[in-house]
């Protein structure tokens, strides 16, 4: 058995789980580090919108967004418990080992958006991938113009990254608007779908020179796209990140291939213009 010269793209590196924070029911944030410090340094050069493959020994591997911004110190994933791998991750405790490889995918071209207004529209856990871009944009605040964040959830208890949302609400030069489908007694904010915020008094979304980031469940996505197009947004100025079943993350296993694109290498970030041409359900 000889060690080949070619790098093994499928080989994950062990990571240690440092702490777990509950976000909303069934969704937790896992703070972790690579055991190897050099690995950690290399990994940290990811771009907002990229993803990683997480290995749970004996269970399997799954792709997940990178919610931190490369400008932050900590590395973490926010994961909903939905299948066998994510359930196995949810059962881990601080100090447990798992493995990670990546970062993969194209990511959002944040440099191309310099000098533009940014509108973030996130439904539910759609805020996970967008969190990275928002934090990145705020740490490079002088590079961007107007920044607006719209986040909707089913109930107030299901709003994501609440401490961060409060921070954004307090940040000068940033608009952060929240809404819920069903209010509870203590909820004083807007009630309705995310799109209902767009028409609210006092909210003005600039269409010229603006990039709209949209992430959320399929129904929300369709309606928000409709609203944005009606406002006059060009399809190429609406960006999102696609989710697909993936095994390799490096363009070989074929599972995520739609139309002419391998979501893992050609995406996961696509403009709405590209998504429409790919011709498959979101």
């Amino acid at each position: 058995m000889t060690t080949p010269a070619t790098e093994n793209i499928y080989l994950p590196k062990t990571a240690v789980l440092e702490r777990v924070v509950s976000e909303i029911p069934e969704v937790k944030t896992f703070y972790w580090r690579f055991e190897d410090a050099t690995e950690q340094q290399t990994f940290k050069h990811f771009r907002p919108g990229q993803f990683a493959q997480v290995s749970l020994f004996g269970v399997g591997e799954f792709p997940t967004s990178l919610p931190p911004s490369p400008t932050e110190d900590e590395t973490f994933f926010t994961v909903r418990q939905v299948g066998s791998c994510t359930s196995a991750l949810h059962q881990l405790n601080s100090g447990d080992r798992f493995a990670v490889r990546g970062p993969y995918g194209n990511g959002f071209p944040m440099e191309q958006y310099y000098g533009k207004n940014l509108v973030f529209v996130a439904g539910g856990i759609g805020l996970i991938p967008l969190r990275s871009c928002i934090v990145y944009a705020l740490s490079n605040r002088d590079k961007y113009r107007h920044i607006q964040i719209f986040h909707g959830a089913k109930t107030p208890g299901e709003l994501m990254y609440v401490p961060k949302l409060h921070e954004w609400e307090q940040t000068p030069g940033v608009e952060c608007h929240l809404t819920v489908d069903r209010a509870t007694d203590d909820w004083k904010g807007n009630v309705g779908v995310v799109g209902s915020l767009f028409k609210k008094q006092g909210i003005e979304i600039p269409v010229e020179n603006t990039i709209a980031f949209v992430c959320g469940p399929p129904v929300m996505f369709r309606f928000v796209i409709k609203d944005l197009l009606a406002m006059g947004f060009e399809e190429r100025n609406i960006v999102s990140t696609l989710e697909r079943y993936m095994k390799c993350g490096v363009g070989k296993c074929g599972h995520c291939c739609i139309g002419v694109a391998y979501v893992c290498v050609d995406g996961p970030v696509f403009t709405y213009e590209q998504i429409r041409r790919l011709g498959e359900d979101i």
């Binding site: 058995m1 000889t2 060690t3 080949p4 070619t6 790098e7 093994n8 793209i9 499928y10 080989l11 994950p12 590196k13 062990t14 749970l56 020994f57 004996g58 269970v59 399997g60 591997e61 799954f62 939905v82 299948g83 066998s84 791998c85 994510t86 100090g95 447990d96 080992r97 493995a99 399929p218 989710e243 697909r244 079943y245 095994k247 390799c248 490096v250 363009g251 070989k252 296993c253 074929g254 599972h255 291939c257 739609i258 139309g259 002419v260 290498v265 011709g279 498959e280 359900d281 979101i282």
Partner: protein, 359 residues
């Protein structure tokens, strides 16, 4: 490329030469009836190797891309995890690989070794692989009902990509062509003698005859179908018609020399030991795109059929890999119970789209 002549009775000595050089040699054998298969050559079966036979349904692709392959081992001890990749780097030769299957390997090379990332497992299988292509020169035995390499431009005689090519010229003569220095190296053995101009003429004449002995003739339809697929001109109802005939068995993928998809799974092999394996996967199967939580962007069968043929025939991918992901071997046509192998689908698409355009 250099050509030599050897005696028909000396042809299996090529196998011996390779074995002497330390290669594990894989060659085609006959089972019962139509059954033919590739197997490792030993002293016991060496004389049963076949030069002419129907191409085995189970393609030699598995020697570069095994249908089950271990990728790594995980060992857990005292809370620590040890990950060890597992590599196999055989020194192997395939004797008697047909031109279509050779084109398949050429396609896999571009797919796995090229692009953004290189697949180390594939590379390991490929690195020391010696390919002895045998030209399908016996129309009765070599060329089957479903063969259509003349349409995909991959046969009956491969133009390159082999280390050595053998072509039975009839009588007692076999022509050997070296495609690489490794192939040429074999020519130092006295079984090879110089070829003359008459042998080259014989080869051309024989190939001309062979090209006319194919039963399928979808040559001109391929280009039309590639164009229709690339321009999304195919009606939904044509895909539905194709989808309705698909039994979702995945057989077409299993026998395809150019299919590349795989799935990865972990399994426990000891109390604190796991291994990660990859296995062939098929886009015909409904679980292929189903995500955790149950959402499946490609629910209907016809969407999945659309996927297979789009991936194989769209101009974008042909340009990317410099070849169609179809090599004209005809296996999918032979194994498909719904009769929607590649040649039939090409024909269905061409006919339906053409009709829709003219009415």
């Amino acid at each position: 490329m250099k050509a030599r002549i050897l005696q028909r009775s000396d042809v299996l000595k090529v196998v011996d030469l390779l074995r002497q050089r330390g290669y594990e040699v894989i060659a085609p054998f006959r089972g019962r009836g139509r059954d033919t298969y590739f197997d490792t050559v030993s002293e016991h079966n060496r004389d049963q190797i076949q030069l002419h036979l129907p191409n085995p349904y189970y393609p030699p692709k598995r020697f570069v891309f095994p249908h089950i392959e271990r990728m790594m081992k995980f060992q857990r001890a005292n809370g620590e995890i040890h990950i060890e990749p597992t590599y196999e780097q055989p020194k192997r030769a395939i004797f008697g690989i047909r031109s279509c299957d050779l084109a398949g390997i050429c396609h896999l090379d571009r797919f796995y070794l090229g692009r953004e990332f290189c697949d180390v497992y594939y590379e390991n299988h490929r690195r020391n692989l010696f390919l002895v292509n045998v030209v399908c020169s016996d129309p009765d035995q070599d060329i089957g009902e479903e063969c259509f390499c003349v349409c995909t431009d991959t046969g009956p005689a491969a133009r390159d990509y082999f280390d050595l090519q053998l072509m039975d010229l009839g009588g007692d003569e076999v022509m050997a062509v070296a495609g690489t220095p490794a192939g040429e190296d074999l020519f130092s053995d006295p079984i090879f003698r110089k070829a003359a101009a008459e042998h080259v003429d014989k080869r051309h004449a024989l190939l001309d005859r062979l090209r006319k002995s194919f039963k399928k003739d979808t040559t001109s339809w391929f280009s039309a179908t590639v164009r229709y697929i690339s321009q999304s001109e195919i009606l939904e109802k044509t895909w539905e018609e194709i989808g309705n005939r698909c039994l979702e068995c995945g057989g077409c993928t299993y026998v395809c020399p150019a299919c590349t998809c795989f799935t990865v799974s972990d399994r426990q092999v000891g109390p604190n030991e796991f291994e990660r394996v990859r296995t062939w996967d098929a886009c015909a199967l409904s679980g292929f795109t189903r995500m955790a939580g149950g959402f499946n962007p490609r629910r209907s069968v016809h969407d999945r059929r659309n996927r297979r043929f789009f991936r194989k025939l769209a101009h974008y991918f042909i340009q990317r890999e410099l070849s169609m992901a179809c090599v004209g071997c005809g296996r999918c046509a032979a194994v498909c119970h719904g009769d929607i192998g590649m040649p039939r689908v090409v024909e269905m698409i061409r006919a339906a789209t053409n009709e829709a355009r003219t009415t």
